[in-house]
Symmetry: C2
Subunit: 707 residues, 2 copies
């Protein structure tokens, strides 16, 4: 029944399009010809469709807008002109998976007008060999100057009931476990796909988030996302699960409107990645390529960071961000903390921070994150509190000057932490002073956070006005040569190309959830297909003590991973910002395995995806920046994974030694996660490596040339 109706719909729309003359349609192919895009005006409605190697990937799909302050832009369009162009350029990111990125596309510009409203609207399509992007452009012509979007109605009509890896559409959180299901099953699986969050606003029983990874029954991988989300609301997707048509669903503001526009302007790019090999989806640079080049003249101050931090003992253990139990509620700067009795669980204290500094210095880490260093944590969250932090006043047992001096004397930096409690006006009021405080004390990177409901009240984490704030925080930080790693902010859409001091985001369910309720074992086999398409994630891998007894002897939580997989994540989860998240006491017990975390690079000349299947496994190989060292990582789902790796990416004339950190034969993420074996082996470009990842396991390999 389902397929029948889909086919009927496709035929119906196709039937209409046949009736139109060529003047109403245009076609463009990707450079290799593998992807073909059609754009036309059907019954006065703009429609596009996409084929891949002759198969329909996007069936004819309508494009348009409902406006809140004028007649809609859903129909009444006529085609003025079409034009095409080509682009081929190789550019170099400030940091990234590859030192060279090729940006090669054919472009189709479709100029439309809506004569009854005297409006103009253009559609710009870029067709790559690994997918397409399109955006709406509103020229400063006609009468459309200021307008308010009630909803964007961009359709993505699927050609079948694909398998999807999805999380629930939400205006305020992305921290959900993924569900693998048919599109037609989304509705029935929605309630079990949702867990509670500090701020969450679901909107539809078939609403999902981007980046959405799908696979067709005939083996085509399709990924829907967006690129260059600037001055616009974040796009979700709502599924018409009778016809398998996704439609854009923007995040509203406090008044329910979804976009305040001023022409000339354009939407972000709506993207469709397409490949018949899952590795090609992971290797795609489509999102980055659709972003603008770097906006900064000087990027010498932007450097990848490997760090440890005062964090896991609060997340997984009984330690606290707060300092005292003496104040039932905090009015910032009204309390003399030095006169209050410490509750004794404040982790950001001088002795503990020094311990981390010593550990970082001994093992070559760049920075030490310290959360809970500043006053206000006693009731920081859940009260819609405006003046919640000042980002400048330390607790009495955190000596900013002394600790930074101590760290600097050992070649280490402290990493700043700015939890905002989603009180963005308060953060903006203190931002300049907070950044100056960082400069004064030698900090050059900040982890920021937006936990809880938004202030201004009624706004959402992903609405246009708040998205504007996140970018403001990044560009203001750049004025102080500060790198930003924003948690709970809107999901990334490749803006790190333009603003490379945005070195990380959370915007998904990270390792912290292993301490809260656990992540599904397949979680890290999905994230690189979805969340990581837009930019790096501060996933904070490196947990070795899976039962977390070191930080919480009384706890009964469990991290759904093996140690070997935790190592593999440093390669599979690309990020220029990598944490070793467990505590020094644990690493000291597993120093042989910890060696991989010490060795692994955080910036790369080249990346290869060797084996991949969403929800199953990922194997990535990367060549360290400016070196001949290679690192390989694998993560597997609960079924484990057997690899057969060809090392043909190694230099044919070089010899190497590989150190292999693998799951022991009896390793298992649930029952035996700490069983690993480390072996060394001579390898070269002809070597084939057969390796096994345990259920919920993985492996890691470092390969170094032998001199």
């Amino acid at each position: 029944m389902k397929y029948k109706s889909l086919s009927a719909m496709a035929l119906a729309i196709a039937g209409v399009s046949f009736a139109f003359s060529e003047a109403h349609a245009a076609q463009i192919s990707s450079p290799s010809g593998s992807i073909v895009l059609n754009a036309e005006v059907v019954d006065s409605i703009p429609v596009y469709s996409v084929n891949y190697k002759g198969k329909p990937v996007i069936l004819p799909s309508k494009l348009g807008f409902e406006l809140a302050d004028g007649p809609d832009m859903m129909d009444g369009f006529s085609l003025i002109s079409t034009s095409t162009s080509s682009f081929d350029e190789t550019w170099n990111p400030v940091w990234g998976e590859n030192k060279n990125i090729r940006n090669n596309y054919n472009e189709l510009l479709v100029k439309l007008d809506q004569p009854r409203c005297y409006r103009k609207m253009n559609l710009r399509f870029r067709v790559y060999d690994d997918g397409i992007g399109f955006r709406y452009e509103f020229p400063q012509e006609g009468v459309l100057t200021y307008f308010i979007i009630k909803e964007e109605h961009s359709q993505f009509a699927m050609a079948g009931d694909h398998t999807a890896w999805w999380i629930a559409g939400d205006y305020d959180t992305q921290e959900y476990d993924y569900t693998e299901s048919r599109l037609s099953e989304i509705r029935s699986k929605m309630s079990e796909a949702i867990c509670s969050n500090a701020s969450q606003t679901l909107f539809s029983p078939t609403g999902v988030q981007t980046s959405l990874q799908m696979k067709t029954d005939d083996g085509i991988y399709i990924n829907l996302h967006e690129a260059a989300l600037i001055d616009y609301s974040c796009m979700h997707l709502n599924l018409d699960d009778k016809n398998m048509v996704f439609e854009s669903w923007l995040t509203p503001d406090a008044q329910g409107n979804k976009g305040h526009m001023q022409s000339p302007c354009h939407t972000p790019w709506r993207t469709v990645m397409i490949a018949d090999n899952a590795c090609d989806i992971l290797a795609s640079n489509l999102i980055l390529n659709l972003n603008e080049p770097c906006a900064y003249d000087d990027t010498s101050w932007i450097k990848p960071v490997k760090y440890v931090g005062v964090w896991w003992e609060m997340i997984a253990g009984p330690q606290e961000w707060s300092y005292t139990s003496d104040v039932p509620s905090v009015k910032l700067n009204k309390h003399d903390y030095t006169a209050l009795k410490p509750h004794g669980k404040h982790a950001a204290n001088n002795a503990n921070v020094r311990k981390y500094i010593d550990f970082a210095a001994e093992h070559g880490f760049d920075q030490v994150l310290v959360e809970g260093w500043n006053i206000g944590w006693e009731d920081w969250f859940g009260h819609s509190k405006d003046y919640v932090f000042d980002f400048q006043t330390p607790y009495p047992d955190f000596d900013v000057d002394a600790l930074n001096s101590y760290a600097n004397s050992k070649g280490v930096k402290l990493m700043m932490h700015h939890e905002t409690s989603a009180s963005v006006r308060n953060y903006e009021r203190h931002m300049d002073a907070a950044y100056k405080f960082m400069e004064k004390h030698g900090y050059n990177a900040v982890k920021s956070g937006y936990v809880g409901n938004m202030l201004p009240r009624g706004e959402h984490h992903y609405s246009q006005w708040i998205n504007n704030h996140y970018l403001y925080a990044v560009t203001e930080a750049a004025k102080h040569k500060i790198m930003v790693n924003a948690h709970e902010a809107v999901r990334p859409t490749g803006l790190c190309r333009t603003y490379p001091n945005l070195i990380g985001n959370e915007s998904a369910r990270g390792t912290e959830y292993e301490a809260f309720a656990g992540n599904k074992p397949f979680h890290t086999t999905v994230l690189p297909f979805t969340r990581l398409q837009g930019g790096p994630m501060d996933y904070t891998p490196g947990i070795f003590d899976m039962d977390m007894k070191e930080v919480n002897p009384d706890g009964n939580g469990h991290v759904n991973s093996t140690i070997a997989r935790q190592l593999g994540l440093y390669v599979t989860m690309y990020s220029p910002l990598q944490m070793a998240a467990d505590v020094p006491e644990v690493y000291n017990r597993f120093m042989d395995a910890f060696q991989f975390i010490k060795d692994v690079a955080v910036d790369w000349d080249e990346s290869k995806y060797l084996e991949a299947e969403p929800g199953r496994y990922i194997v990535a190989a990367r060549k360290a920046k400016g070196k001949n060292d290679w690192f390989i990582g694998c993560t597997a789902n609960e079924d484990g994974h057997s690899s057969d790796l060809k090392l043909d990416f190694l230099d044919a004339d070089k010899k190497y030694e590989a150190t292999i950190y693998a799951d022991a034969d009896d390793a298992h993420y649930a029952t035996n996660p700490q069983a690993y074996k480390i072996t060394k082996k001579k390898v070269n470009s002809k070597t084939r490596l057969k390796l096994k990842a345990a259920p919920g396991g993985g492996y890691a390999i470092s390969i170094k040339p032998i001199n």
Copy 2:
């Protein structure tokens, strides 16, 4: 019928209160005993009432709150304790109508609890000889820490169908003409009381604003307002016009909530001024006395200001704030204004500003306001535009450095102008830089504006979060020794005592409306009773060219005033900030009358209200700060006014010369507004002056000792 039902209600409630034992009630009198306040708990509801000289002024009125996040605080209260205290202090304002202000009251603190919710709430009443104030206090006891107010239900039960001078209750504007009517007529007169405004949100057919001036049939003047509005939403009044009971009606936020509270905290003071002489209402310092003392250690930089400005020619004439017609819409800092064609009507140009500087220097003015000096005015308003101004970039024809140098060389300062277009995030983002820009260029005062709908969208001009912004702008300005005159901000509530760099507000229908559609002739006989209770207004008097032909030869508007009244307003409309709003060309034609504006003081040692009746006339006399000069002003409604003034406030042992600027016998605001006569006369403390104000007229007198 009306009176019958009122009396019945009064008796009914009084009957209930008789039944209660003394433990549930408390009574307190004003220092002289003229005002008596009762507070009691009736049927578990807090109730208060007020008598004046034995007559009921506030009938038993309930107090309470609806909460958005918990059980209401409307009943279930019991009285824990009552206590009384007295206070008598004389303090000196930084600037004001009087150099000495006596703050003398008896206080009653009523401690309540709401046992079923484990909550505590206190009521603090202060009883003065000229009225009462009360506020709710939420101690940090019991379980009430964070809570959200859905509505405050403070009643003000009137004892009759009084005459009132009112404007429509509105969350976003106060710029309405006053209506004089019985309370019972408010509903029927509401629609004609409303005119359109750039941002307006009416809420009830019987909703009115504070300060609300009333008069009983037996000659008691009652005024309802609030004092010390900090971290709370602005209170309006909604009338139950069957029972003549006003009830508080707060301004909501974007989610419809009306207050986010964190104990310990309190509401602003709710005030009831009471007198049987209208002059005593004008002379009352109740609102100031209920505010906290000055928050600044150093106030030497705060100085009253008399100014002219580049303004009236845009308000009343065809000149423009904008520079060019070349850009259909502005994207700030994306246009090179030097390459755009000026439209030739930009008033803030170097030559014109120099003309004003010359005029100010010649006639002893302190400052020259220049509006429209900065880029962005081409489409600054009505588009819910976020990045609308940067407050730092001048138009090409406004040379900031040269004009400030020129002004300074002549002993004059330029006055800064920050129109925000109600985009408060944008203003806050630029605020520090904008204030620094002012410091750098020698500005020490700013006129700010909040025209149009608020950003963050959904917030209102008078909601808690935005009120917080206005005060933030003032306290941040103080860090740069900058004085603030904020237009379209929330109505003042005496905060200028605590923050005396808040030297002015608009918050009412000012002179500009004379150019738009005219103010009712009685307007300035009402404002001192209402709007000015909370603090000074930048009313911008001094218009001499009532048909505005000098600035707009083709216009047909008319200012509803005589010239003599325009002079009188400099005395009747107390403000430490006074503009001479007409253009130099006009003043040059009336230099004899203009002399009064040059002479009149802007700060005072002593003020006397000699004759007053709301909506009819006001005569005020004030002694210049640190001098023996007195100035008298009169404003009258369309009936004119006959004065019989006793000058017994003059020193008995001194002789004086009075210069009287009076309406000519045939003067009339509508038909002959420029007819005035200036006479000089020797006067002393025994002199009686009989003077006549024409319809819509007035007079002004300067009295100087003869050496």
